[in-house]
């Protein structure tokens, strides 16, 4: 099986869906001529032409709204936000129009749009460019939200997202773009709403998604060799819909939970998960649900300190030890 980067996996998904469905259009800042700010869309303009690979002005409210309007007529836009941090400029369009138009019309209108781009910290770009937006997006019924950690999941989830008839928010990570993994050539999909147990274990369940999956996997190796703690890692992959059955199955096995995510703690995805775990698995728990989040402040610029603000391998190890104590 070919080994390719996360970036290439997304590009392949885009190319395959552009080939498969003539209604698919890729739009965003620098997606065409510039070959993509992070080279995700490199080569697509040459292959598919300017009608379907569209460079936009820097106008997130305008072009996201345009994509939503076009999707109501059956176009399937895949809109890139260069940083998901820019979603706040298009907030009205996403949370009022994309999320609500089906409901407000009593089901008469569909909005088959994908909005994709990176939503992460860790790249020393300061507070305005480092938001993790999955919690705010997933808060809105009508939207679907997915956060892939691996190249395989990135390709499969994006293909599912583009084929979906609901608006799907697809959150990537600039630090993962260069990560390599095995990705099949050709057609396959990863269904939305299906978690993946990335590591089996018996002593502690780590529920996580996105780049925190990779930190957790590395931490699990150290926990096993140095502390004899066998960690199970549930990669959610999809925030809404959510595969909570996978979380429950794991909790019933290990009886202890640590949630790891690159979100600020207040009202994060993990806060929702904690609530659900204590409601639905209270009798299975040997101790309180633990959470490891980003330190609760705007993203610090200082490069050596930013690493410590976010989840990292050492912080996961420390949190896991606290969770099993």
């Amino acid at each position: 099986m070919p080994v390719i980067t996360y970036r290439e996996a997304i590009r392949h998904a885009l190319a395959e869906e552009l080939t498969r469905d003539e209604n698919v259009v890729v739009m965003g800042e620098e997606v065409g001529q510039f070959n993509g700010a992070y080279k995700v869309t490199e080569g697509l303009l040459e292959k598919f032409g300017p009608k379907r690979i569209v460079d936009t002005p820097i106008s997130e409210a305008g072009f996201i709204g345009l994509g939503i309007g076009a999707s109501m007529l059956g176009i399937r836009p895949v809109m890139e936000l260069m940083f998901w941090s820019f979603y706040s400029v298009a907030f009205d369009q996403i949370v009022n129009n994309a999320a609500n138009v089906r409901y407000m019309s009593g089901g008469l209108i569909n909005c088959p749009i994908v909005i994709r781009g990176p939503a992460n910290g860790g790249t020393n770009v300061g507070a305005t460019h480092s938001h993790t937006t999955e919690n705010v997006l997933a808060h809105h019924p009508g939207l679907k939200v997915v956060v892939p950690a691996t190249p395989y999941d990135a390709k499969g989830l994006l293909k599912s997202a583009i084929r979906d008839n609901d608006p799907v928010m697809f959150l990537e990570n600039t630090i993962l773009y260069g990560d390599k993994g095995e990705v099949p050539e050709g057609d396959y999909v990863v269904p939305l709403g299906k978690a993946d147990v990335k590591r089996e274990g018996t002593d502690l369940t780590i529920v996580t998604y996105g780049r925190s999956v990779l930190h957790s996997l590395k931490a699990a190796e150290t926990l096993a060799t140095e502390h004899k703690i066998n960690v199970e890692i549930v990669d959610l992959r999809s925030i809404r819909p959510l595969d909570f059955d996978a979380v429950l199955a794991s909790v019933r096995k290990t009886h202890r939970v640590l949630i790891v995510e690159e979100q600020k703690p207040f009202c994060s995805v993990g806060a929702q998960l904690s609530d659900m775990i204590q409601l639905e698995a209270f009798d299975e728990l040997d101790g309180p649900v633990h959470r490891l989040c980003t330190v609760d402040a705007p993203a610090i610029y200082s490069p050596p300190v930013e690493v410590e603000q976010l989840p990292n391998v050492n912080r996961v190890i420390k949190a896991a030890l606290a969770a099993v104590k």
């Binding site: 305008g62 709204g65 076009a70 109501m72 009593g106 939305l192 959510l242």
Partner: protein
């Protein structure tokens, strides 16, 4: 040019000259139907049958009727929250509209949208929208979709005068002009952005902002149905045939507050409203024109009015008698997938309560 001569010149525009007597009467009828529907809605609102806001279209009827009467099969309409006139103009059933405002499951949006959110995709009507200017990028997207599909059509994106100060509108203008999208941005200038007059809220002339994007613009007297049709026909034809966007400012006036519960005495005088009603009411003006042309007489005017009142009453009775949606209906129509379970591909939970 005298007003009378001006009105006659628009009457002789090709798009108006070819109208049959029946078609002209039907245009007048539609304006009357809107007026009576709105008056009946007001009574229902005052009786607390309708909640929230009620943005009435009284005074502006010639704008929606005139513009929507020009729609071809590939033309589309999207508008803001003052959307009852457009909904009736495109042909939505008034029973479904009234039921929607009563919050009944028989409403056009099953009681889920309310007064600001009427939709009829089968009539190429993409809604009322509640956030000022938020529908304008969507309308630009409709135009984009038409061009992408190679269809000769136009998207009419309506907004109030206050929306012209929203940033999203300027992003939409830029995209439409940059990409030559067949979008007609229609500013229904009723002179007041909620309770702030145009001169107190907007620098310069609204239509002239189009020049900043190298877009064509037009100004229309929205009290004159013939003028609306004559000038909009030129703009729409350019959109369809050349795929060119335009901005159209249509001068109009509303007789009621922004929403009916809003006190409008603080920003305009009763005398101003009465002056408009006396001299510029679009129903009265068009009625006079049709009488002069020999297309209307007292008997027909009375018949149309009675039928419109009866229709509005039937709509209200229908709404009153209809059932509300159930509590279980709250979570329907949220996701396409949850409403089409046999075709569902994703897994996991979609709802969390």
């Amino acid at each position: 040019m005298s007003k009378s001569t001006q009105a006659k010149s628009h009457a002789s525009a090709p798009v108006n000259a070819r109208l049959s007597k029946e078609e002209k009467v039907e245009l007048y009828r539609k304006m009357v139907r809107i007026r009576r529907f709105e008056e009946r809605s007001l009574r229902a609102y005052q009786a607390k049958k309708i909640g929230g806001f009620l943005h009435l279209y009284i005074g502006q009827e010639a704008v929606a009727v005139g513009c929507c009467s020009l729609m071809g099969k590939n033309d589309h309409v999207i508008t803001a929250y003052r959307d009852h006139g457009h909904a009736i103009s495109v042909g939505m059933d008034t029973k479904g509209l009234m039921a929607e405002m009563y919050g009944k499951v028989t409403g056009c949006s099953k009681g889920k949208g309310g007064s600001m959110h009427f939709f009829a995709p089968s009539l190429n009507y993409w809604g009322g929208h509640g956030i000022v200017g938020g529908q304008i990028p969507l309308g630009t997207g409709l135009a984009y979709g038409l061009k992408f599909k190679g269809l000769k059509g136009a998207a009419m994106a309506f907004m109030g005068d206050g929306a012209v100060n929203q940033g999203a509108v300027h992003e939409a203008y830029n995209l439409a002009a940059l990409w030559n999208l067949p979008c007609v941005f229609v500013i229904e200038n009723n002179g007041y952005s909620m309770g702030t007059s145009q001169e107190r809220s907007s620098a310069g002339e609204l239509h002239q902002r189009a020049a900043g994007y190298d877009m064509a613009w037009e100004v229309i007297n929205g009290h004159d149905l013939y003028e609306v049709r004559a000038k909009m026909d030129v703009v729409l034809t350019r959109a369809r045939e050349e795929s060119k966007p335009s901005v159209v400012e249509i001068d109009t006036y509303r007789y009621r507050g922004h929403s009916v519960a809003d006190p409008d005495k603080t920003y305009r005088s009763k005398a101003e409203i009465e002056e408009y009603q006396r001299t510029k009411d679009p129903l009265n003006l068009f009625q006079s024109i049709l009488r002069e042309e020999g297309n209307l007489d007292d008997a027909l005017v009375e018949k149309i009015d009675q039928e419109a009142r009866a229709e509005a009453d039937v709509a209200a009775d229908f709404a009153e008698a209809s059932p509300f949606p159930t509590v279980e209906d709250i979570q329907k129509d949220v996701y396409w997938e949850s409403d089409n379970p046999s075709q569902r591909v994703s897994q996991g939970r979609l709802f969390f309560n």
